[in-house]
C-alpha cells in the first residue's frame, strides 16, 4: 500500500460481531490514534473470514499473521508487541489441530482448504460473455485433447476412473452412464443437459450457467464424442432468463470460433447444441418427463426401463446429465482422473456445490470436497447460525430429502452417508434451521410443494400426497390424534413404494425424516396442542397478564374480531373462543402485558 505500512483487518462478519468484534475494532482505532500510529497503520473492518468458530479473527498485513479468539482487551498487546516491536503475540496465533503447533501465516492454514472450487472454478473470475476469457483459462483444451489424443473408449475409461457421480441427485456413476449410452447404435443420438433445477432454494446450476456457460458446452461436446452423438440439447427453465441469455451468447461465440459446429479442430467430429425452454415444473427435472417435455408432449414420467440410453429423445439413444456433473468434466480430462479421485471420500469423489440458505449468517454458494462435515459447512464456512440461535436441523435434498439433526453434525457429507442418515444429497440445496423452525410445518411446506407439483399420472402420488398434506394440516391446527401419526407413517411408506417416478417415490421423505428425528415435536402438537417452536399459529395462546395491563384499550381497539373486553383503566381479557390468533394485540400492547405461548 502506498501510504500505510501496516494494516489491521478486523472481522466484521455477523458471527464475529456477536462476539464483540465491533469493540475490538474500536479499541484498535483508539490505540493506534493514541500512539500516533495513524499515519502508518490503518484499521479496517472486513467481511467474514469463514472461520467463525475461532472468532473474532484479526489479521495483520503485510505479514499475514492470523490471530484467533481475540478479545477487546488484546488489542493493546497486539499493538504494543506486534505493531511496534514486531513480535507476534504467540498465545493468540492459530493452533493447528493436527500438528498442535502455532501457525501464523494464514496461507498455511488448513481451513483455507475447506473449499475447493472445481465446478465453480471460473465463476466470479471470468466474464461469461467473452469466450476468450474461458480460453485463457484452458477452456476447450479438454475437448481438444479428447479429439486429438484419445479414443472415445479412453475418454469413458477416464471418466469412470475419476469416480465422478451424477450431481443431479441420484449419484449414478457418470462414466458408466456414458458407457451404456455408447453401446446403443443408431443414426442419431443425443446429449442432454438437465438444467431444470426445480428444488425450492437451489441455485447451483443457475450460478454455473450464468458464470461459466462454456464449461457446460465443452463437456457436452466431450460426452457427444465419447458416446457417438452429434447433437446436444440443454433443457432449461424459462424462469432463468440471465442463464439463457448467457448460454445463447456462449453457443454463438463457440460456433464463431469453430469450437462447436462441423469438423471441430479439423477432425470429423461435429457437435451442435440448442436450447429447449421448460415451463418450470419440478417433475420435468425427472429425466423421462424432461425428454417428453422436449418432444412437445406433456411433461410426465414414464417407467424405466427403457432408460434414455436405449430410447430417449425421439426414441433415440440419449445421455442425460446435470449441469454441475458436466462442469466437472473438462477439469477431469485436463488434470486427469487420478488427480480428481484423490479428492473426496472412498465412494464419492470430487466436490459438491451447495446453496447455503436459511438461518445461516453467510448465505451463499459454496463448493466443498465430499466428506466435509456439516459442522464445517455451517460453523466455519457458513459463519454459524443467525442471531446466535441454536442449530436445530439442516434440510438437504429438497422435497426428496430429509432433515439432519445435530447428531449428524460430524458426519462426513457424501452420497451414501446422507442416505444412511435418512436424507439425500439431492442437487445441493442446504437449508439451515434454528430453534424457531417448527419441523411439522417444514414437512407441511414440502408436502404442499409436492401436491402442487405432482403430475397426477399415478394414484399413490396424486392422492397419497394430498392426504399426507391434509393430515399435516390437521396436526398443525391442533386437531391431530396419535392415530394420525401412525397413519402418516404408513401412508408415507405406501406412497414411496408404489409411485411411478422418483417424485412420488421420494416425496414422503421430509415427513419420514422429521417423524424419525423430531417425533416429540409431533407429539407436542397432537397431545399437548402446543407448537414448541411457536410457529403454528393455531396452537398459540394469547393471554393478558392482569398485573401488567393498565387498561389502555389499545388491544381491544386493534382486535379484528372483538375478542378483547374490558373497561378503561381496568385489566382486559381475551375470549379464547373468539380469538383468531392474529397477534395484532401482542404487537400493539406497549406494556408487554400480552403473552404468546
Amino acid at each position: 500500500m502506498a501510504k500505510y505500512k501496516m494494516h489491521i483487518l478486523c472481522c466484521g462478519g455477523t458471527g464475529c460481531r456477536a462476539s464483540k468484534s465491533d469493540e475490538i475494532l474500536e479499541n484498535f482505532k483508539k490505540i493506534i490514534l493514541e500512539k500516533n500510529l495513524d499515519d502508518e497503520v490503518q484499521v479496517i473492518q472486513t467481511g467474514c473470514f469463514g472461520f467463525c468458530e475461532k472468532g473474532p479473527i484479526v489479521k495483520i498485513l503485510p505479514d499475514n499473521t492470523f490471530y484467533t479468539e481475540v478479545t477487546p482487551e488484546d488489542a493493546l498487546e497486539i499493538v504494543e508487541e506486534h505493531v511496534i516491536k514486531g513480535r507476534k503475540v504467540k498465545r493468540l496465533l492459530y493452533m493447528d489441530p493436527d500438528k498442535k503447533e502455532h501457525i501464523s501465516d494464514s496461507k498455511h492454514m488448513n481451513f483455507y482448504k475447506k473449499q475447493i472450487r472445481i465446478a465453480l472454478r471460473n465463476c466470479g473470475f471470468i466474464n461469461p460473455e467473452n469466450i476468450e476469457e474461458y480460453i485463457a483459462r484452458d477452456g476447450y483444451m479438454a475437448i481438444g485433447k479428447c479429439l486429438t489424443e484419445m479414443t472415445p473408449e479412453q475418454v469413458i475409461a477416464e471418466i469412470k476412473l475419476s469416480g465422478l457421480r451424477g450431481r443431479g441427485g441420484g449419484g449414478f456413476p457418470t462414466g458408466l452412464k456414458w458407457e451404456f449410452a455408447s453401446k446403443y447404435h443408431d443414426d442419431q443420438k443425443y446429449v442432454v443437459c438437465n438444467a431444470d433445477e426445480g428444488d425450492p432454494g437451489a441455485f447451483m446450476d443457475r450460478s454455473i450457467l450464468e458464470g461459466d456457460p462454456h464449461s457446460v458446452l465443452e463437456a457436452m461436446a466431450i460426452c457427444g464424442y465419447s458416446i457417438g452423438a452429434n447433437k446436444g440439447l440443454i433443457y432449461i427453465r424459462a424462469e432463468y432468463p440471465l442463464a439463457i441469455e448467457r448460454l445463447k451468447i456462449a453457443i454463438k461465440q463457440a460456433k464463431e470460433y469453430g469450437l462447436l459446429g462441423d469438423n471441430i479442430f479439423g477432425t470429423d467430429f461435429s457437435f451442435d447444441i440448442t436450447l429447449r425452454l421448460g415451463a418450470g415444473a419440478f417433475v420435468c427435472g425427472e429425466e423421462t418427463a424432461l425428454i417428453h417435455s422436449m418432444e412437445g408432449q406433456r411433461g410426465e414420467p414414464t417407467p424405466k426401463p427403457p432408460f434414455p440410453a436405449e430410447s430417449g429423445f425421439m426414441k433415440k439413444p440419449t445421455n442425460v446429465n446435470n449441469v454441475e456433473t458436466f462442469a466437472n468434466i473438462p477439469v477431469i480430462i485436463n488434470k486427469g482422473a487420478n488427480w480428481f479421485n484423490k479428492i473426496g471420500t472412498e465412494k464419492s469423489k470430487g466436490t459438491k456445490v451447495f446453496a447455503l440458505a436459511g438461518k445461516i449468517n453467510n448465505v451463499g454458494l459454496i463448493e466443498v470436497p465430499m466428506g466435509t462435515t456439516l459442522r464445517e459447512v455451517i460453523y466455519e464456512i457458513g459463519g454459524g447460525i443467525k442471531s446466535g440461535k441454536e442449530f436445530k436441523a439442516v434440510q438437504t435434498g429438497g422435497p426428496s430429502g430429509g432433515c439432519l439433526t445435530k447428531d449428524f453434525l460430524d458426519t462426513p457429507i457424501d452420497y451414501d452417508n446422507l442416505v444412511a442418515a435418512g436424507s439425500m444429497m439431492g442437487s445441493g440445496g442446504m437449508i439451515v434451521m434454528d430453534e424457531d423452525d417448527c419441523m411439522v410445518s417444514i414437512a407441511k411446506f414440502y408436502m404442499e410443494f409436492i401436491v402442487e407439483e405432482s403430475c397426477g399420472k399415478c394414484v399413490p402420488c396424486r392422492l397419497g400426497t394430498k392426504r399426507l398434506y391434509e393430515i399435516l394440516e390437521k396436526i398443525t391446527r391442533g386437531n391431530g390424534t396419535m392415530e394420525d401419526l401412525d397413519l402418516l407413517k404408513n401412508l408415507s411408506k405406501t406412497v414411496k413404494a408404489t409411485s411411478l417416478c422418483g417424485l412420488g417415490q421420494t416425496a414422503p421423505n421430509p415427513i419420514l425424516s422429521t417423524l424419525n428425528n423430531f417425533y416429540d415435536e409431533y407429539v407436542a402438537h397432537v397431545r399437548d396442542k402446543k407448537c414448541p417452536a411457536g410457529q403454528c399459529r393455531h396452537l398459540l395462546k394469547f393471554e393478558i397478564d392482569p398485573e401488567k395491563c393498565v387498561g389502555c384499550t389499545v388491544c381491544a381497539r386493534n382486535c379484528p374480531v372483538n375478542a378483547i373486553t374490558g373497561t378503561v383503566k381496568q385489566p382486559h381479557t381475551i375470549d379464547q373462543e373468539i380469538c383468531i390468533k392474529c397477534g395484532a394485540c401482542f404487537q400493539k400492547c406497549k406494556f408487554g402485558a400480552i403473552s404468546k405461548k
Binding site: G47, A136, F265, N361, G364
Partner: protein, 132 residues
C-alpha cells in the same frame, strides 16, 4: 475473429488470451490500468450490481481513471451482494462486499486513487485449482 481449426490454433489463442489478461492484471508498463470485476449473476443483479457497475464505469470515466470494468459470475458471497473484485496494478485482487453506489464511490476515492484500504473487504476462503 479467428476460426480455430486445430488444437495448435487453440493453444496459440489461449496463450495470447492469457497474456492479454495477465497484462491487464499485472502490467508494469505505463499503460497499467485498474481492473474491476462485478459479480453479475441473478443474486448480484437483484441486489443492485447493475447500478454499481454503471456507476463505476461513469465515475471512473468522469475522473479519467484508466480502468476496465467487466462483469463476471457469482463469487459465492450471496450474503454480501453486490460484490466486486478490484485489482490494482502490481497488487493482489481484493474483493469488497455490499458495494452500493456509495461504497463504490468510497472505493474509487480511497482505494483506487490513494491506495488506502476501506472497510468491507471479503477475505477469500477457498482454494482454486490453478495451484494444484
Amino acid at each position: 475473429m479467428k476460426r480455430i481449426k486445430s488444437l495448435d490454433d487453440l493453444k496459440k489463442l489461449s496463450k495470447n488470451a492469457k497474456n492479454k489478461f495477465d497484462l491487464r492484471e499485472k502490467a508494469n508498463d505505463p499503460d497499467k490500468v485498474v481492473q474491476i470485476k462485478v459479480a453479475m449473476a441473478t443474486c448480484g443483479i437483484a441486489s443492485g450490481a447493475k447500478e454499481t457497475m454503471d456507476f463505476l464505469i461513469e465515475e471512473l470515466d468522469r475522473q479519467s481513471i484508466k480502468a476496465i470494468v467487466t462483469q463476471t459470475g457469482c463469487m459465492g458471497y450471496c450474503y454480501a451482494e453486490p460484490t466486486i473484485e478490484v485489482t490494482m496494478p502490481n497488487n493482489d485482487p481484493i474483493v469488497f462486499g455490499y458495494v452500493d453506489t456509495k461504497k463504490a464511490k468510497e472505493i474509487v476515492e480511497k482505494y483506487i486513487k490513494k491506495n488506502e484500504l476501506v472497510d468491507g473487504i471479503l477475505p477469500v476462503n477457498y482454494e482454486t485449482i490453478d495451484k494444484q
